[in-house]
């Protein structure tokens, strides 16, 4: 692994696996502490559909056997962990014979697409604006406008989402209110569909962007203040290089590096925030899947979605930690 010391690598891998294991365990334990019996819920659903259920005792026993909850806890736990390794969380109880993994696989591309798009936009805009806040040649307007825009950044994306939805979808009707694509277009790789997806994705992405760019801008501002006083910047100025060149090649390039670690810490919160944005926009991603599962008390799906999202977070943190020394050669990992 080149420059990464072995101890550090082992440490990160252990942390990654511990994170996944602990999260998976917590998700598994919680529903089992609850007094609610999933078999009875399933029976109740049958009874609600059919009016009355004969042989309810036998059916209960059968349901318990199907769900595997008649086995000793340790067996259940190990089976669950084994299943989690291959993303097998059993069958959804609400959309009954559909496996949870299928539901998640259908939702995942939407979530990932929205997330990557909004992340790239915020990272770019946020860091640029943060740099301009400090740069002594940026226009006066920029220096006043950016701190004012920062106010948005303290707000969670659900609130900005509601506001944008009301203004642009309900009032002005420039954008559709809900959904990830129009029901009138055939999903596939044709222009009408892509256009529809972009049209539907704009508001959810924007509501994430306007509340997250400030985090990067603030961080960048702090870093730029430090970089501004460095000797190499003074030297570059003395050499008479163009100010814009100094800004991009000397200042931003050096200041941006710690932002990438900040990124790792923020990923978890971003994903959780996005789940809520998807919920209010009824966007076809993991957030909507989770919300529908909560409404239906569909535990396998709730567990599966939570697990996959935690896994995504843990892996992105891990990757950023590993990639970091390649991006910033100044960093030498201490053997931890």
């Amino acid at each position: 692994m080149g420059r990464i010391p072995r101890d550090y690598l082992i440490n990160r891998i252990v942390t990654l696996f511990l994170t996944i294991l602990i999260a998976a365990t917590i998700i598994w334990i919680i529903p089992r502490l609850s007094p609610v019996d999933p078999a009875e819920i399933a029976l109740g659903r049958m009874a609600a559909g059919a009016g009355a259920v004969a042989n309810s005792e036998e059916i209960l026993a059968q349901l318990r056997a199907n769900m595997g909850i008649d086995q000793p806890l340790i067996v259940q736990y190990l089976k669950y962990l084994g299943g989690a390794l291959v993303f097998d969380f059993g069958l959804s109880t609400a959309a009954f014979p559909t496996p949870v993994s299928t539901l998640i696989l259908n939702a995942l591309p939407w979530t990932l697409g929205l997330m990557i798009l909004s992340l790239i936009i915020t990272f770019f805009i946020g860091n640029l604006l943060g740099a301009l806040m400090v740069w002594d040649r940026s226009p006066k307007l920029v220096r006043v406008a950016i701190p004012a825009a920062m106010v948005f950044t303290s707000i969670p994306p659900i609130l900005s989402g509601l506001l944008l939805m009301w203004i642009f979808a309900a009032k002005l009707q420039w954008f559709p209110l809900t959904g990830a694509y129009s029901i009138f277009v055939e999903p596939g790789w044709n222009w009408a569909f892509v256009q529809s997806v972009l049209h539907h994705g704009f508001l959810p992405a924007l509501s994430i962007v306007i509340v997250t760019f400030g985090f990067w801008a603030l961080g960048m501002r702090g870093l730029m203040i430090t970089v501004q006083g460095e000797d190499y910047v003074k030297l570059a100025e003395a050499k008479g290089l163009r100010p814009r060149y100094i800004l991009y090649r000397y200042m931003i390039r050096n200041a941006i590096l710690p932002q990438i670690t900040a990124f790792a810490l923020k990923v978890g919160l971003l994903i959780a925030g996005q789940v809520l944005v998807e919920r209010i926009f009824a966007y076809n991603g993991m957030g909507k899947l989770l919300y529908d599962a909560i409404l239906n008390q569909d535990f396998p799906v709730i567990q599966g979605v939570s697990y996959v999202i935690i896994l995504m977070t843990a892996i992105s943190v891990f990757l950023v930690d590993l990639l970091y020394p390649f991006i910033d050669p100044r960093i030498r990992h201490e053997a931890a």
Binding site: T15, L18, V36, S154, P156, L162, G268, L276, I294, T313
Partner: protein
């Protein structure tokens, strides 16, 4: 007196002078004061509001349904009345009463969760940084592990399994997820402080460990602790509101998040019932802006370098 009296000062000079006066007390920071003012306003709304306004109006059906605020008209052509100055929701609850009861509830969850989280964080951070060795390893790995797990998802699992929870219970649950960052921060600070002269002096003079930890080191950490506290209040409120918007918070206690949840579910956005979701949203926004200002102010208190710029 001095030459300053004769020459009119430029704005920059005036600002400079003001800053020099302010230099005596970094806590008299305008951002800090504004932020604290906004939060105190919300607390005051809850305390004074209860005295001036009838809290029984939070009950379903206590007023007419979907009345607009004063000066507006709803789709049925009804106008806002003095009896419900901020309008009513789809269940006939008065929105003014809802926010009077709901806003302090939301703030309470955030404060309680981060108070508990901070206490755990201070304890663990000091233990890890000061004692080192095996204890440090365990705490550090635990904090590293827990920091990547988004609290919202674990709590979603929890609350869908257990159903209704009380506010305190929710705060306790959230507290389980806000101790990691303070722990890491304090550990790092303690590690660097341990090398400083005054701590070594105290050690040489035979001060007890707890004396060094709490009397020598803790006071120096106060600005960091405050900053960390405010950050975790924000995280806690975001998490709590997130749960409530998913319909998972306390079911019978009015909270801002739950009001928004009900508004979305009733289609308030399409029906143009903007006051139903808009007023709680606005109040939450004020709360978060207050917290942000306090945080920015605290940054300037603890990092004088930033003061030069504003």
């Amino acid at each position: 007196m001095t030459s300053q009296d004769n020459m009119p000062m430029t704005r920059a000079e005036k600002r400079q002078l003001k800053r020099m006066k302010r230099f005596d007390n970094p806590w008299m920071n305008p951002k800090l004061i504004w932020g604290a003012g906004l939060l105190l306003g919300i607390v005051a709304l809850g305390l004074i509001g209860r005295l001036l306004w009838d809290p029984d109006l939070v009950f379903t059906g206590s007023s007419m349904l979907r009345l607009p605020p004063i000066g507006f008209e709803n789709l049925r052509g009804q106008e806002g009345t003095l009896a419900n100055p901020l309008g009513t929701d789809g269940g006939g609850r008065d929105l003014l009463a809802l926010i009077i009861i709901g806003a302090p509830n939301t703030l309470f969850v955030g404060l309680l969760a981060s108070l508990i989280g901070m206490s755990i964080g201070i304890f663990l951070g000091f233990s890890a940084g000061f004692l080192g060795g095996r204890i440090d390893d365990t705490i550090r790995v635990l904090a590293d592990v827990m920091i990547t797990i988004p609290p919202l998802l674990i709590l979603v699992v929890f609350q869908s399994a257990f159903g209704d929870v009380t506010l305190t219970m929710m705060a306790l649950l959230i507290a389980g997820f806000v101790w990691q960052s303070p722990t890491r921060l304090i550990r790092a600070q303690v590690l660097s402080m341990k090398q400083s002269g005054y701590v070594q002096m105290a050690q040489l003079s035979g001060a007890s460990t707890s004396h060094i930890m709490f009397r020598e080191m803790l006071p120096n950490l106060v600005p960091y602790l405050f900053g960390s506290f405010i950050a975790s209040v924000t995280t806690s409120i975001v998490t709590a509101v997130g749960l409530e918007v998913l319909g998972l918070g306390p079911q019978r206690i009015p909270t801002l998040g739950r009001t928004i949840y009900e508004a979305i579910n009733a289609g308030a956005l399409i029906q143009n019932l903007w006051w139903w979701w808009g007023i709680p949203t606005l109040l939450l926004a004020v709360m978060f802006i207050g917290l942000l200002l306090i945080n920015l102010g605290l940054d300037e208190v603890s990092n004088p370098r930033l003061r030069k710029l504003s």
